[in-house]
Amino acid sequence: MTVRHIVAGVDGSENSRRALAWAAELARALRAELVVVHALGLLDRLADGEPVPTAAHRDAIVEAFEHSWCAPLADAGVTARRMVRDGTPVDVLLAVAEHEEADLIVVGSRGIGNVPERILGSTSHQLAARSIRPVVIVPEGVGSGSTSTHGAH
């Protein structure tokens, strides 16, 4: 099979930054296009990690997404598009993957939400359960870098 389109979800967490770096390396190796997506909820996190009302901070969140959370794309040498969409992470990633006819979805194993996995499943596990497309869950510890992704903006 050929992987031409990869969708990667980011949420500003360190783990999602590493997952994005992994996805960018894969996209470069396969010459695939990368679509990076952030789902805006009712609340989101800015530089200090504290939850803030998304609507009131929408512009700041979009700027953080563009310039900080997507930092691994800067020197990755890949063709990448960036999208911010309203909705829950699982719904948004599935919808974008469908629209883009993605061959692969890449997410970190645990984002900021810190959802208990044992009962309802984390975002990554829900995604894997509901997606009709291959999903790569990048575990903590994979990838380099230790710089906080909640960087200045």
């Binding site: 909820g41 989101d44 996190r45 504290e50 998304t54 969409r85 829950t88 719904d91 309802l120």
Partner: protein
């Protein structure tokens, strides 16, 4: 007389100190009720826990079990927005049952209208999962119970966020007309005018996705040129309102420009759609600025109590008329 159902000390849904969906919201609503009516004018109805059968009309058993297990385990989060504590399940069951108790009181002729002052809110909760601060879909549980009794239910949802859960639940139900006014783009990203209902309920979902800074005049045009006509054609036997107040201009979670005075006008419109006394119930959804919430709830209660209590003038002059026109165009399929 106004039927009021409040959770009181049954509210054990702890979202943490930082969360905007917090217990103090119900204190603001409690104060608003007393801003409008004296205690002797209130029929207080104790909430009860909704039964599993009542909940399963709109939610899957597997989701209810998972939610219960999460609470038993001490809580957690369904998603980055939606927090669950050990007491959340019980509170959510009482919140759903509060609506059922209020409707039972109205059926018994105890009042002209009801206000169900509960949390967590419900309209984002889908059949198989909670989201967006919502665990159990309170208005859907009530509407499903009424539909089960062969009633025809109009749900007007004026929360600033689209009620995706309610829409999904009644997508194919010919006994429920769901109408939402909401901001777009905004969470949850659904609620386009083209979403008009499933094959078994064509035209029974109506969505008005208003742009940021929309004022009350656009909402009133939606009521006067679309909503009232659609409601009259549907001929409801009950009117339920998903009454969120986060479309108020002071709310931190959204960007519409409504005032308390606008909610007063909306409440008069929906009261006029009810087929008679005792067939109108308001369900609290969102609203996160406590002062704006208090003013807006008080203004809303002016309609069923026949009082002018609004402290803020209605608003006008913003965008949003194009949204109404777009919905009218789509509605031509059903209105000719």
């Amino acid at each position: 007389m106004l039927v009021v159902t409040e959770l009181g000390d049954r509210d054990t849904h702890d979202t943490g100190g930082w969360h905007p969906e917090r217990p103090q919201r119900l204190d603001a609503v409690h104060a608003a009720v007393h801003d409008v009516v004296d205690e002797e004018e209130i029929i207080r109805v104790e909430p009860r826990e909704a039964t599993i059968d009542e909940l399963c009309r709109v939610h899957s058993m597997s989701y209810l079990r998972a939610l219960d297990e999460l609470c038993t385990a001490g809580g957690g989060a369904l998603d980055p927005d939606t927090v669950v504590s050990s007491g959340s399940c019980r509170t959510a069951r009482f919140a759903a049952g509060a609506g059922l108790a209020a409707i039972a009181a109205l059926e018994q002729g105890q009042g002209d209208a009801a206000f169900v002052a509960v949390r967590p809110p419900g309209h984002h909760a889908r059949a198989d999962r909670g989201m967006g601060f919502c665990l159990i879909n309170n208005v859907a549980v009530a509407a499903a119970a009424l539909a089960h009794e062969r009633e025809r239910v109009l749900i007007v949802d004026w929360d600033v966020h689209h009620g995706n859960g309610t829409q999904d639940i009644f997508w194919n139900d010919p006994n429920v007309l769901y109408i939402s006014t909401h901001q777009y783009p905004l969470f949850p990203g659904t609620g386009a005018p083209s979403e008009t209902g499933g094959a078994a309920a064509p035209g029974l979902t109506i969505n008005f996705p208003f742009p940021e800074k929309t004022c009350g005049d656009a909402f009133l045009r939606a009521f006067d040129e679309v909503i009232c006509e659609a409601a009259e054609a549907f001929d409801p036997t009950w009117v339920l309102v998903s009454a969120g107040f986060d479309a108020h201009r002071d709310d931190p979670l959204a960007g519409l420009s409504l005032s308390a005075g606008d909610f007063a006008l909306f409440a008069h419109r929906v009261a006029g759609l009810a087929p008679g006394p005792g067939r109108l119930a308001f369900f609290l959804e969102g609203g996160y600025d406590l002062a704006a919430l208090r003013r807006s709830v008080a203004a809303t209660l002016g309609a069923p109590t026949d009082r002018d209590v609004s402290t803020e003038a209605p608003t006008s002059g913003g965008p949003g008329m194009a949204t109404v026109q777009a919905v009218k165009e789509i509605r031509r399929e059903w209105t000719g």
